[in-house]
């Protein structure tokens, strides 16, 4: 190829690029500003909600508030002790049910299932479940447990909440396990280790932080669900007595306090909301610490 005959693309192309340069810089800047505006717009509601809750709820906080039972309506005395206890019990029980079921299903879908009819059906039903309105789940819990047992109960509430939590855990577990590089499994196979041991000791350990995050997400979600609780645990002003009886929970308590016409009740409601937010935050912090504590997490690759 003769160099003299070759068309000088460099001049032509660079010339064009130079001409449009200024315009493209302006568009780039505008796009950046637009993105920042959107982010701020998204943060404002979250920030303002948090501010409101803290502002209004801090006043109600006191030791008595946290441990006492409800005082007479409108008196401004008493507390939300039973609600806090109830939330811990119901959410705790629901997590205990949902975690093994969700994690094992996630492991099944990621490690043992292919793309056949049954696994695809499981995945499909799973995603349908995530979109199910929580009131419907509450009705299911009512019909299957409350009517059968004859009373509103912790079981009913825990079961309903676990139905909400399971799909979240399944999806996050499956996704995190898929991200674990296949080369690690191959290394395990090449050492003559059985598939079960590889899945639990190598793959799951590597994906540990992701799975724990999924569980944390699930807990955060169900801790705030109100509708299923209305139909299953009923709510009460007494402390926990038995798993077959009704129990109080923070979302219920907040709703009831908010519907009362008294100023003190509203104040208690804000306080309860603040407590709920702090509890969920606490759980997530603990889970994060657990994830980073022993062993070494796969961070950059995930």
């Amino acid at each position: 190829m003769n160099n003299a005959e070759r068309k000088d693309y460099r001049l032509v192309l660079h010339g064009h690029m130079k001409k449009t340069y200024r315009k493209r810089i302006i568009i780039d800047r505008l796009a950046t500003i637009f993105a920042i505006v959107c982010v701020v717009a998204a943060i404002i509601p979250l920030g303002s909600i948090l501010l409101e809750v803290v502002k209004n709820g801090v006043a109600a906080l006191s030791l008595e508030f946290l441990v006492a039972t409800q005082g007479s309506i409108g008196s401004g005395k008493g507390g939300i002790g039973p609600a806090i206890q109830g939330t811990i019990i119901v959410v705790g029980l629901a997590s205990l049910i949902a975690t093994p079921v969700g994690v094992l299903t996630g492991i099944y879908l990621s490690e043992f299932a292919g793309n056949g009819i049954f696994p695809s059906a499981v995945r499909f039903l799973n995603s349908v479940l995530t979109g199910l309105p929580s009131i419907v789940i509450g009705i299911v819990g009512y019909v299957t447990v409350v009517l059968v047992l004859g009373s509103f109960s912790v079981w009913a509430g825990a079961l309903s909440l676990s139905i909400i939590m399971i799909p979240i855990v399944v999806i996050v577990t499956e996704e995190t396990l898929r991200i674990v590089p296949h080369s690690l499994r191959e290394a395990g196979y090449a050492l003559g280790i059985s598939k079960a041991k590889i899945t639990l000791n190598i793959v799951l350990m590597t994906a540990k932080s992701g799975v724990l995050t999924g569980i944390g997400l699930g807990i955060a979600r169900i801790a705030g669900e109100t509708a299923p609780l209305i139909m299953t645990i009923l709510g009460t002003s007494l402390f926990f007595s038995s798993l077959e009886g009704p129990v109080d929970a923070l979302p219920l308590r907040i709703w009831r306090l908010a519907s009362q016409p008294y100023e003190s009740a509203h104040s208690f409601g804000w306080g309860a909301a603040l407590v709920l937010i702090l509890m969920v935050l606490g759980v997530n912090v603990v889970l994060r610490l657990l994830a980073h504590k022993k062993g070494f997490t796969v961070r950059a690759e995930v």
């Binding site: 292919g114 090449a190 050492l191 059985s194 590597t206």
Partner: protein, 280 residues
């Protein structure tokens, strides 16, 4: 091929020449792995066609050939890892010390304990320390004796020429090592299982030249204890490191012989063209 480790006297040179002219004396050669009529498929595509090969005990055998010739598929048939890929199929026999590893009565997991493998990209377990990585195969196969494990870990790291570099840092994460060190860690992990045959699938292609040459030295020293089969697309590496070389093309074994003969005067023209860099 005598490695240039010592200079020969005139008598020795003359004796070698006489032997070269007279031809090899038939001694009983011990074959560690005998590959008989192996055919392999990926779905419909046949990746291996009637492979027959005898691999000598305590030697280094290299598989060379252009991309897609089936050398990786073949090596993965030697420890029953090929069949783990979806839609993969193997027919034929692979005899290790006379026993067919594809026999119905044999558990594939057990095969992998006797025939170890090292992969192209180093893959230490990220959640484990250096010592735990080396011991992973032992611990997850039920060995509980801590002292025994510690001994084997030290032995394996020494065998992989990594002990001196990490002996004070055995609790550091396995991923904190450099690429070449990670690969030696993976070799140590494989050695800890005391395999009789070690398969290496392009072990140095992800490493820089210095790290690669360390691994090549390692291979030469390991062959006194373990039979080694190495897949490489670097011809000079095959020439440096192996005693026997097999050239494969489009799923067939084209030529197999002593490395010095293959690289000095190959019998098949296709082999000559490939090793001279005329294609592939």
């Amino acid at each position: 091929m005598a490695y240039f480790s010592r200079s020969l006297t005139v008598e020795e040179v003359m004796r070698e020449e006489k032997a070269a002219v007279a031809g090899p004396v038939e001694t009983t050669v011990r074959y560690k792995v005998v590959i008989k009529e192996i055919n392999g498929w990926f779905g419909r595509k046949q990746a291996l066609k009637n492979i027959n090969l005898n691999i000598k005990d305590k030697s280094v055998t290299a598989f060379i050939g252009p991309s897609g010739c089936g050398k990786t598929t073949l090596i993965r048939c030697l420890n029953r890892m090929h069949e783990m890929t979806p839609c993969a199929l193997v027919e034929g026999q692979v005899l290790v010390d006379g026993a067919d590893i594809y026999d119905k009565s044999i558990d594939p997991v057990v095969v992998k304990r006797r025939v170890g493998m090292v992969f192209q990209k180093p893959n230490p377990f990220p959640t484990m320390s250096i010592a735990d990585n080396v011991a992973a195969g032992l611990k997850l196969n039920g060995i509980k004796d801590k002292n025994l494990i510690a001994e084997v870990v030290e032995e394996s790291l020494k065998g992989a020429a990594l002990w001196d570099e990490v002996k004070t840092e055995l609790d550091k994460p396995g991923m904190s090592l450099s690429g070449g060190q990670q690969q030696r860690l993976c070799i140590a992990r494989a050695l800890a299982m005391q395999p009789e045959v070690l398969l290496m699938d392009e072990p140095t292609s992800a490493l820089d030249p210095l790290a690669s040459s360390k691994i090549e030295e390692l291979v030469r020293s390991l062959k006194e204890h373990v039979t080694i089969v190495i897949v490489t697309h670097n011809m000079q590496q095959a020439a440096r490191v192996s005693d026997f070389t097999a050239f494969m093309y489009l799923g067939e074994m084209i030529e197999y012989g002593a490395t010095s003969q293959i690289f000095k005067n190959p019998e098949k023209e296709l082999t000559e063209r490939y090793i001279s860099g005329k294609f592939g």
